[in-house]
């Protein structure tokens, strides 16, 4: 297990839990990172506010990899602009591409995501595209130079769990890049299930931000993700199609 690293764009990580930083107090970030055991945290890029003196970067411990997203982008061009601005902010080359055309379901635009991935990968970014789990798109993302593929489990912020389970499994089986399940994972048990399926990592924000005790939930997710990973590496036991199979010897009974 000690050699079980998550490798994204040549960078090695021990943790398989990518943490979001939205919708909760900046003062909870450090505890969330610590209790999640997270080594990667996502951020968004927005117009700077001259009134707010606090900056999120002051709340993130050193050594944590920053993963800026391109939320707010409606097409590839806007995503590329946001990614370049994020890099100019001076915190590395990672970017999570997020392109949405509608604000009701917040579903990613796969076609524009492939375009943005190609442009940014050519500019040297470590590109982690958020996508609707579709095998053809995932293959296009591989060819475009993506460092991972991040399929959604269910709509962003819904906490509804693995609604796209079958299609994520296809990506895990067929795509030779880390498949990181992003969006919609609401409970540790769902994170564990995705990891048992062979997902490389889990990205979660809302499940924590809307939990009663954020650091405690971060810790619960950490345990669930680690359990799921161990189960996957171990190889799950088989399922009988019918009948039963005794766990105890069927001889030596105390009778006759």
């Amino acid at each position: 297990m000690n050699n079980d690293k998550l490798i994204i764009g040549g960078h090695e990580f021990n943790s398989r839990f990518i943490l979001g930083s939205g919708k909760y107090s900046l003062n909870l970030i450090e505890a969330a990172i610590k209790d999640a055991g997270a080594e990667i945290i996502t951020l968004a890029v927005r117009r700077a506010n001259t009134k707010e003196q606090e900056n999120i970067l002051d709340f993130i411990p050193d050594g944590v990899t920053l993963l800026p997203n391109t939320s707010g982008a409606r097409n590839a061009e806007e995503a590329v602009r946001i990614a370049r601005l994020a890099r100019e902010l001076g915190c590395g080359d990672f970017v999570k591409i997020e392109i949405m055309r509608d604000s009701k379901y917040l579903l990613p635009d796969n076609e524009e995501t492939v375009k943005a991935t190609e442009i940014l990968a050519n500019e040297g970014f470590v590109v982690m595209p958020y996508m609707y789990p579709d095998l053809n798109t995932a293959r296009d993302l591989v060819n475009a130079g993506a460092a991972s593929v991040m399929p959604l489990a269910s709509p962003i912020g819904s906490n509804k769990g693995l609604a796209t389970k079958e299609f994520i499994q296809i990506l895990i089986n067929e795509i030779d890049l880390p498949i990181i399940v992003d969006a919609g994972i609401g409970r540790p048990s769902q994170a564990c299930e995705a990891m048992e399926m062979g997902a490389a990592a889990i990205m979660s924000n809302t499940a924590l931000a809307t939990a009663g005790d954020l650091p405690l939930m971060a810790s619960a997710f950490r345990n669930a993700i680690e359990a799921g990973r161990k189960a996957y590496l171990s190889g799950l036991g088989r399922v009988l199609t019918r009948g039963a199979s005794a766990s105890d010897p069927l001889t030596g009974f105390l009778r006759d």
Binding site: Y24, A48, G157, N205
Partner: protein
């Protein structure tokens, strides 16, 4: 007129540095884009804002 983060300002002829000095932005925590292109920090002094320029000044916030 120059549009900065959606706000129209009468600052034509100012450099990006001069404009930023009139604000309370933390220079270490922002990135600047002018007409869709990044303005690197090293170019803040020499980049003069012209009539019709559209500028974005951004920073990191929490997000998923």
């Amino acid at each position: 007129m120059v549009k900065i983060n959606g706000e129209i300002l009468d600052i034509c002829g100012m450099s990006v540095s001069e404009y930023l000095k009139t604000t309370s932005y933390d220079i270490k925590r922002i990135a600047v884009e002018c007409n869709g292109d990044i303005v690197p920090k090293s170019k803040y002094d020499e980049t003069i804002l012209k009539d019709g320029d559209s500028v974005e000044v951004v920073s990191f916030v929490g997000g998923g």
